[in-house]
Symmetry: none
Subunit: 170 residues, 2 copies
DNA sequence: AATGAAAAAAATAGGAA
DNA sequence: TTCCTATTTTTTTCATT
């Protein structure tokens, strides 16, 4: 994917040692290559047996189990979950909501509020005009509206700006 | 050999042209309360045993297993995955990017473009001024910028507006 | 410290009622 | 659906490098 990016006229010589798509693995934390492959395998299928994983990383089942235990204890793997097709569960209406908050709202307040509403599937503070973006998922538009009203009722929320998801592409 | 769903085989002459695996979603929302609780339990911990789940929904382990099998076959549960703390794996920089597109860009084009870039973790078309929102996740700010540049180079993209995630609250 | 092998305990996968 | 059972997997224990 080498895209000609010549927009800049500054013809500073490019550093020849800099690989563009450097997959530099500085090994954050203390995961080795086997740990990474175990994590990848579990992300792919969290219910496969340790023996199966072991076969793909050339380790015995107990050895894999110990590493998984260690990864969980270290907080690298935080849990295992079922991947559900939300549309099949009926909560098919989605929205992104920008939250504008009062002057000295802190992230903890937003977080606490987010946890109160089950329709909130994600929340984060952001750069830009808004203070936070939350993702909502609801059964239908009426449900979404109701959830949004509840959010707007939070004392620190001064204004919201929503966009509704028309279709999910990924 | 074992056809689980033959309960109502009317002895009407079999239609030879009938696709066997007609994924006829006959009842997209026909999960009963127990199914929902099983799904919730698995979302909470995908590696707990069927017996444990059974204890919480007052069902035997084999009964739970059959329901899970059915939920998977129906495409409601699409898989099981490990939940990983992304910051421990390196891709810690996130952004929401609004995409403004040329006049008659269709969703398929956006979808194809989204698939080309590994940094895109989600993409959807939305109401409002922008045509789509994509979520990016990258190793660091430089990586994010590079991914954004690649996105902006798509021929149908006229303009983008990004906000960077400061911290994830959920 | 980390691994593999073996044994014990637990879970799973089907079958029958 | 539950019950039952053979098979597989998990988990502990122990010996090895």
């Amino acid at each position: 994917m080498n895209d000609p990016q010549d927009g800049e006229t500054l013809s500073r010589e490019t550093a020849p040692t800099e690989p563009l798509s450097a997959h530099a693995e500085p090994a954050p934390g203390d995961l080795d290559e086997i740990d990474r492959r175990i994590v990848a395998a579990l992300m792919n299928d969290a219910r496969q047996s340790f023996a199966t994983i072991g076969a793909s990383v050339a380790l015995s089942a107990p050895a894999v189990k110990r590493r998984v235990d260690r990864l969980r204890a270290a907080g690298i793997i935080t849990g295992f979950t079922a991947v559900v097709d939300p549309s099949r569960l009926g909560w098919t209406t989605e929205a992104f909501v920008e939250l504008f908050c009062t002057g000295r709202t802190n992230p903890d307040q937003i977080q606490q509020a987010a946890r109160k509403h089950p329709e909130v599937t994600a929340a984060c503070t952001v750069t830009g005009e808004a203070d936070a973006i939350v993702q909502l998922r609801a059964k239908d538009m009426a449900h979404l509206e109701q959830a949004l009203e509840r959010l707007r009722a939070e004392p620190f929320v001064t204004r919201t700006k929503s966009v509704v998801v028309l279709s999910r592409l990924t």
